[in-house]
């Protein structure tokens, strides 16, 4: 019984950690621009696919990963520079459609530049499972959890301890005021898209040894990541991580204890229930309307 529960839990937190990385990307971009970037999942796909093809081109794994993250960051910056940034003053819904257009474009590009097959990466440190109280965990899962943790700590440090991070938070709270105190909000926007793309790509690289990637592989991860960001409270860092874990664990427990056919439905029902009782997510600001 305990072994089963632990197994479900391991599955949930591994998958949840990936959702959390995607959710963090959603939140960072939302904070800077109030845009929901529906191309976030494509950054995940680019991370995985680019690493695969860089390795096929002869690069060693670590170098391939770095190049892949760089490619994703370039895609993120381009999205800000040439699409979202060009549409100041457009309504939020319009901006969302622009990012959906971008996601279709990036998928199309990936299928042409790379291919439509699925690809995998070798596990970073072997496939010998680790046994824990009757349950098993792959070394790759530990990589996923470890890297997510490190990324979370780094982000926390960045946003609370560095001037640039504080500038980003300030911009999130009040763009005009941030501009008035001399923050280059344009740069902050670029930075947030770059950062979100990097997070997505890291998630993509981490998961590819477990679940192969292909040109449309980012779609569902993007959707789940968005759900996680919303459950946690949009724009809230810790919320994104907790949200990711909740969605991941809900799916695993749903599959384990309720019905694997309806596990996704179970996760979404849970999300709806959270929203019905906490309309701004778990950590979202419940501000009073000012009139």
């Amino acid at each position: 019984m305990l072994a089963e529960f632990l197994q479900f839990l391991f599955s949930g937190i591994t998958v949840g950690a990936i959702y959390a990385l995607v959710a963090l990307g959603f939140s960072i971009i939302y904070n800077a621009s109030h845009v929901i970037n529906f191309a976030q999942g494509e950054f995940v796909m680019i991370g995985g696919m680019a690493t695969v093809f860089m390795m096929a081109g002869g690069l060693p794994l670590p170098a391939a990963m770095l190049v892949a993250v760089a490619i994703a960051v370039c895609a993120g910056l381009a999205l800000e520079r040439f699409a979202v940034g060009q549409s100041r003053g457009a309504s939020v819904v319009t901006l969302i459609i622009i990012t959906i257009g971008a996601s279709i474009f990036l998928r199309g590009l990936a299928s042409v530049v790379w291919d439509r097959n699925f690809h995998t990466l070798p596990s970073f440190s072997g496939d010998e499972p680790i046994r824990l109280a009757g349950a098993t965990l792959t070394p790759q899962s530990l990589w996923v959890l470890g890297v997510t943790l490190v990324v979370a700590v780094l982000l926390f440090w960045f946003f609370t301890r560095t001037l640039m991070g504080k500038a980003m938070l300030a911009t999130a709270h009040n763009r005009l005021a941030a501009q008035l105190v001399g923050i280059n909000t344009r740069f902050v926007l670029m930075l947030s898209f770059g950062l979100a793309a990097a997070l997505g790509a890291i998630g993509g690289i981490l998961i590819t040894p477990i679940a192969p990637t292909y040109f449309e592989g980012g779609v569902m991860l993007g959707l789940k990541g968005f759900s996680a960001a919303i459950v946690g409270g949009l724009g809230h860092g810790l919320g994104a991580i907790v949200g990711g874990l909740i969605v991941g664990i809900a799916e695993a427990m749903g599959a384990g204890y309720i019905s694997s056919a309806y596990k996704d439905a179970f996760a979404f029902v849970l999300i709806l229930l959270v929203l019905f009782f906490m309309p701004s997510g778990l950590f979202g600001v419940r501000g009073t309307e000012r009139v």
Binding site: I36, A90, I97, F105, R107, G108, L109, L223, F226, L275
Partner: protein
Amino acid sequence: MAVTEKDAGTEALKRGARRTALLSPRYAGVGALILVIIVLQFFFTNNFHYDVAIKIGLSAIVCVGLNLLIGYAGQISLGHAGFFGLGAYSSAILTDSYGWPPLASLFAGLVLVGVLSFVLARPILRLKGHYLAMATLGMGIIISIVLNQEVDLTGGPDGMPVPAFSLFGWSPNSEPAWYWLVSGVLVVTVWLSLNLIDSSIGRALRAVHGSEVAAETVGVDTTRYKVLIFVVSALFASLAGSLFAHYTGFLTPVVAEFFTSIQFVIMVVFGGMASVFGSVVGAAVLTALPEFLTVLHDYEHLVFGLLLMLTMIFMSKGLLPSLIILIRRRLP
């Protein structure tokens, strides 16, 4: 003195109103739509053309309804394909498995969707913005999962056949017949929507979009109107879904998928929010465009994404409103 001045003013207003009434969207717009529908079919040389036009019409019915919710009342829904799918499957299952007449099945679908959307609307529409988007998205996905998993009822992902439609003994058994049927429904949908917008309910809806708190201070029960329009738009989707099921004659759960919902929203925003005719244009362009892009083969999706982005970047108000502004600027 003051009294006569005021009377003169309102008299002028009335005259003006009468004069512009004939040129209003309700008359000129619907007239033009009917004209386009009639003229268009002279250019059709085969059933493929009719097929694309019929699909445009069916999407447009959903989008016009969805625009009432998104464009006019300012509430997003990323789950309307769920209602479209429920309407479609109600018709399919009741006619195929239970032998109901198509019209009765269609109404049963409307009742089901009406009740479901009404029950869901209150808790869901308490949410705002992106949280509302998430909730409607989740709702749509749950519906599509059910349709996909209940293989005994729906045939699952391999789909199920749907018997032909019939209306009091008449059955549209050719593409042109379907074209006229769908066009007729579309025109009625557009007309009803234009009427609704230009009524006290329509103004209340637009007020909800403009400022919820201000609407409340003049007595608009904003929750009630949000629920109302959510249900109305869901019913439009269900109606289109039922017709779609009978038209294609074969149904898979893809119709209720998340992507289908997104596609409807894209059509609404692309055509122009708060523009009934914009939704028709959006549905038309985005349904027809991929058929042209097939010549690009592998580059089809890439180019489609690019065109979508560029249009929204340079015409952020949507295609039709932006074109109108452009034309107005050109004209003196």
